[in-house]
Amino acid sequence: MGRIVLDQVSKRFGDVEVIPPLDLTIEDGEFAVFVGPSGCGKSTLLRMIAGLEDLTSGNIEIDGENVTEVPPSKRGLAMVFQSYALYPHMTVRKNIGFPLRMEKMEQAEIDKRVETAAQSLNLVDYLDRKPGQLSGGQRQRVAIGRAIVRDPSAFLFDEPLSNLDAALRVGMRLEISEMHERMRTTMIYVTHDQVEAMTMANKIVVLQAGRIEQVGSPLDLYHKPQNVFVAGFIGSPKMNIFSGPEAEKHGAHTIGIRPEHTDVSMTEGTWEGRVGVAEHLGSDTFIHVHDTGLADMVTVRITGDISVKHGDKIFLTPRADQIHRFDAQGQRIA
């Protein structure tokens, strides 16, 4: 069980209000991702849920119980840190078994659970090593092992993959998703990487300067960004966003069109421009177009390969039903 409710939770460090009062509910079994640019307060929010940071105001409930004043050790949550935070003086076996030992569980039961966790994480051969003798990926697994052995009501992850290299990161991302599918335990996952957010989450919470910009499923956020910030933050390459006469034609202050929702022609189309750089990925081609009069640069994404050169004249046509419209405050116009 792990339904987590934040009620008017806020945080100040001295005079700086890092998190203005916010409400948020994470349902039992959900995979929630807090995503936002660096410094927006994701870790602070997660640490408040963990109990590692006091609240300036508001309440936190876990499964209907107000835990605002409950110390971290009594909240029944497990956390995986960016730095892994393994105990350097203990072997892998001791590290994973540590939370169970703190629960005063019987040694035989601890051994059994550590063994099971080690098997599921491919750590069996490393149980008697110290963390210093492991690679980054293995340390990460130990940190996860330490979190799963004790059946927490929810898992908290603070950028757990950002110290791994790109290939390992993709692998671990899948493993964590897999783990969630299997266990169906609530997970809250913090990242600044929107790709991680999109691929892993059931529910994404987009934060900016401590404020929640939007909460929704990955596809909600992709198809219906509630404001310009979310529109620009979710999706890769970034959505093209511009204001001016072209936006006014659509009855909006600002409009946005995703690179993949723009058709390209060398002969005719709505907007005309010149090819800057074309990035050929094989499966896709990203073309950065200049001199459209709309914005400094408009990016389009084409499936497959297309042969264009720097300086070529090119025509772009946005798909009308895919244009996002925003008002002067940056809010979505329905």
Binding site: A50, G51, L52, P71, P72, S73, K74, L77, A78, M79, F81, Q82, S83, A85, L86, Y87, P88, H89, F98, P99, M102, E103, R146, R150
Partner: protein, 277 residues
């Protein structure tokens, strides 16, 4: 050091010579003291007996028989050991709190503690003596242990704080998440991780306590008197008996020199405040 590919003449010959030179300079007084302790009081002041003399154990025998060396030694052990334990008992939690749960006042508190070391001891000597006599603690172990602990607490807290600061905060927080209470954090995580630092601190505090003279000499007469008092007591008004004084001094510093010898590595680490990893 590997950077200096062609080792200069200095690094091959000069450095060892310099190191030995400085070492001997510091060691010489101790050597001289030990040497003198085997001379009679009369030989000790005769220039012709500077190096060549008939060694004697007279001073040592005299010391154990007439001056009750073992009682002073026992008092030194009792007060230094107890004060070290007490100091650690207070300074470990204090440094832990300041390192991992700092408040806005933490820096000031640390500075304030250090500033107490700048207070001239003489300024509080008489108040202390009157106070001690007033509450009936003059010349007791309790008093000596309390005073030794108090004067060493700032150093101990500072040293431990520096060591604890090197432990990543995440590890302590992981402990909290894993269900450990405050005492458990200290016992299960902090102490095993900072073991070297704590041992260095303990050793240094012990040495300071053992060598302390200003207070122990002035706050004791017989019952709680330490070896410092014994040395002080052999500073006879009718002139110095160098042989006897040297024997007493040798016997007083002996244990600590031996201890220091065996714990060199720890001590060097302790004094460089964890810079050597």
């Amino acid at each position: 050091m590997a950077i200096v590919a062609q080792s200069s003449k200095f690094s091959i010959y000069g450095r060892p010579v310099l190191a030995w030179g400085v070492g001997l300079m510091f060691f010489f007084p101790i050597f001289w003291m030990v040497l003198t302790s085997f001379k009679t009081d009369a030989d000790a002041v005769k220039p012709e007996n500077l190096i060549f003399f008939t060694p004697t154990l007279e001073n040592y025998l005299n010391m154990t028989e007439n001056y009750d060396y073992w009682r002073f030694a026992r008092n030194s052990v009792i007060s230094a050991v107890s004060a070290t334990i007490f100091t650690l008992f207070v300074s470990v939690p204090a440094a832990y709190a300041m390192a991992f749960n700092p408040t806005r006042a933490t820096k000031d508190v640390l500075m304030w503690m250090l500033s107490t070391k700048m207070l001239p001891a003489a300024a509080v000597l008489y108040p202390m003596i009157f106070l001690a006599k007033g509450i009936g603690l003059y010349d007791t172990h309790i008093l000596v242990i309390t005073v030794l602990s108090l004067i060493n607490l700032p150093i101990a807290v500072w040293m431990l704080f520096t060591y604890f600061k090197e432990i990543p905060k995440d590890i302590i927080e992981a402990g909290k998440m894993d269900g450990v209470n405050t005492w458990g954090e200290i016992k299960e995580i902090l102490v095993p991780l900072a073991w070297g630092g704590i041992a260095s601190t303990a050793l240094l505090v012990f040495i300071f306590c053992w060598n302390e003279a200003y207070w122990t000499v002035r706050l004791t007469t017989i019952d709680a008197a330490t070896l410092s008092k014994l040395i002080e007591g052999n500073r006879a008004p009718e002139g110095l008996f160098f042989g006897r004084l040297s024997a007493v001094s040798t016997a007083a510093v002996g244990p600590i020199v031996v201890l220091g010898w065996f714990c060199q590595k720890q001590l060097v680490q302790g004094l460089t405040f964890g810079a050597v990893k």
